[in-house]
Homo-oligomer: 415 residues x 2
């Protein structure tokens, strides 16, 4: 039987708009992967009466309730007490948690104030989830056929506790194992991918193939249910192959984080190095690459050449090119890529010059026009892109994505 879930976030700061309920997105995605249907998200403030009403309603319409927030040590943390009242459980002290908690504070070199001991009380008979990123433990119990799981609110605490505590608890509710692989796609939109695959995927039941739109890219999730992980993988393999035959051209990775981590992995495999010369992206490519831990193994650095002067002085773009063609041009993109490659001594170099808006340039070039260069051991290529009059943010992200995808394709060929 398929399980249904409701997420209840507890926190006045969410209702005031001070923070977004990002836990709900993360948990929804993870629960979908476990084959659990999330039917509702609810947010209530730090108010026991309204929380109790939300819990009473949730137990009538879902068989799994996940709460986030309200597990901390202060007076407005009321989730455990309210859940205990609603489900008729005692909130009992767990002496073993006191030792653990004192250890957490000692490791941080901080003194534990006594109010922290509230965190050692949990509903009687529950499964305890230790908090590896904080001080408030979570827990789970089942009452009257409804599973209640409590997770802390801070996103990094919630995410880790879901993986280490809640996910194993939920997996054990089912005899089936669900395994997914995610194909990340750049250069084709969700609707195009869907139309290419439509006839193949529309009748599938196990595995299933589902396209999702992400900002500036899309992805395909291939999911199988089986008695074991091995059996699920055996079901998945031919379907992944079939999908790759149809749209593999645009798949930049399977179960990967993003384009930049794929590029870095390819660079490291080939023992090659990279630099970047950025005009309209203003450091975005360098920032994204160095977001990845260990980027220094392949990324040497870059130049943000926001003016003609920096292009000429630092990147040695000939002034004659700037004068004749303007900064936003194919020849300048080429010279920027070759310039930063020479200056840093990297094997590969990316360049971006274009108009992210709000204004065009005095040569009449439109917002959204971007030239992207790639210099490498086999020469230099430049691509002209027109990203249209969307937001500055969109144009910059698309320019960075296109540059990284160009590099990825070149590295794939350079085997």
């Amino acid at each position: 039987m398929a399980h249904t879930a409701e997420l209840i976030a507890v926190g006045t700061e969410i209702l005031l708009g001070n923070i977004a309920n990002t836990d709900a997105q993360l948990l929804s995605e993870k629960l979908a992967e476990l084959g659990i249907d999330v039917l509702y998200h609810t947010v209530v403030g730090d108010n026991p009466k309204r929380l109790r009403a939300a819990l009473e309603l949730a137990r009538t319409r879902a068989d799994i309730i996940l709460t986030t927030g309200g597990l901390g040590p202060t007076y407005d943390d009321l989730t455990k007490e309210t859940i205990c009242e609603t489900f008729g459980r005692k909130n009992v002290r767990r002496p073993e948690l006191e030792d653990w908690l004192r250890g957490v504070f000692a490791n941080r070199g901080r003194t534990m104030t006594e109010n922290n001991l509230r965190q050692t009380y949990l509903p009687e008979g529950c499964t305890v989830f230790l908090n590896q990123n904080g001080t408030a433990p979570g827990c789970a119990f089942c009452e009257g056929g409804v599973h209640v799981l409590m997770l802390p609110g801070p996103p990094h605490e919630c995410a880790l506790m879901f993986e280490t505590g809640a996910a194993p608890y939920l997996r054990a509710l089912s005899h089936e194992v669900i395994v997914s692989h995610t194909l990340r796609i750049y250069g084709k939109g969700e609707s195009e991918v869907e139309s290419i695959l439509h006839d193949r995927i529309v009748k599938m039941t196990n595995p299933t193939v589902a396209p999702y739109a992400k900002p500036d890219e899309c992805m395909l999730r291939v999911t199988a249910k089986a008695e074991s992980a091995e059996a699920a993988e055996a079901l998945l393999a031919p379907v992944v192959d079939e999908v790759m035959d149809a749209v593999g051209e645009w798949v930049y990775g399977v179960d990967v984080d993003n384009l930049e981590s794929v590029c870095l992995a390819l660079l490291r495999e080939r023992g090659a190095t990279l630099s970047a010369a950025e005009s309209c992206t203003g450091g975005l490519i360098a920032k994204r690459i160095t977001d990845v831990p260990g980027a220094s193994a392949a990324f040497l650095g870059g130049v943000v050449s926001y003016t003609d002067g920096v292009k000429a002085e630092v990147l040695h773009v000939p002034q004659a090119l700037l004068d004749e063609f303007g900064a936003v041009s194919e020849p300048v993109a080429r010279a920027m890529a070759e310039g930063v490659r020479a200056v840093t001594g990297s094997d590969y170099a990316l360049s971006v010059t274009g108009l992210a808006g709000p204004d065009g340039d005095d040569r009449g070039n439109p917002v959204g026009l971007v030239y992207i260069g790639l210099a490498g051991p086999n020469g230099t290529t430049v691509r002209e892109c027109r990203f249209g009059r969307r937001t500055r943010e969109h144009i910059r992200q698309q320019a960075a994505n296109t540059a990284l995808d160009l590099l990825r394709r070149a590295l794939r060929q350079a085997t």
Copy 2:
């Protein structure tokens, strides 16, 4: 009488975790500014039965219901129809909307398919909110003392329609005007700010002063209610002055977007230019500055010097300094700032060199150690920072914030 609101987001893609319910955060923040208490957020899928149940519940516990999503042209957009059924209104065709809609498509050079005409039907007698960023109009009506407002789901459509349509509708429900000013603070945490101001703010009722934690910074919101905007401003002025007397040292701006936009505004006021040399921040400072439209008026560019080689070759950091003190050191931060200032010819230059993790360096320097340099017309200063073993993301953002705040303080003095 204070109004209470419930937000209902309609969209299976939120329950699947494909997108976050960011509309709820934005609307919550805006409703708080209007003095409306948001008591619940609810998310339901594209399912008329569950949406109807959510609406029936919401009308019993709030006097304003704001829905987001489900207003589009496709078969799973069911919000209007379900609301009409729930509140006993007809969904009627608005001929004038057809002309408007055909105009939107014509302006984009696209053909309008007939299913788009569904968007010209709205509940009888409603106030229409035109969509300036899309094709689905929104609307509002009042039934049995409950105001129902429908907004589109895509965040940029929802945000603009709230400002242009929903906010004026909601303001008209009250005889009072609510005005807020937001003081943005860097370098002091929420609890420190709260403790400095506690005695002053705890007894205030109008205006009120409320501290909020934001990632890596905090803010104070000063809010007044009065019969007119002028009267509210008159109440606010002395309170803002009093708060500034107490914590103004750390306030980087009032009603501003962020540190980078404040720095750019100060640079432009002074006719001064900026460059940046970044090691561990890897382009983050340049990226944040160039996120701001019009950054090119003051930002010349920068160098991402992720290796000693780039520091030496491009920034002319003496190899002897790198050998003797290592890349993460006060002398190298100083030489980087002076180097990028010389190379770009800027008036001011920031530099960052440090360890963002996951690993320390082979000199035994710890993760979180960062040197931040500022070179300017009056010489060069370097600050040593220890951001601790937090995440790579946190260390990089804190390093960028500290650098920008250092620049802001220098520019403030350079009047």
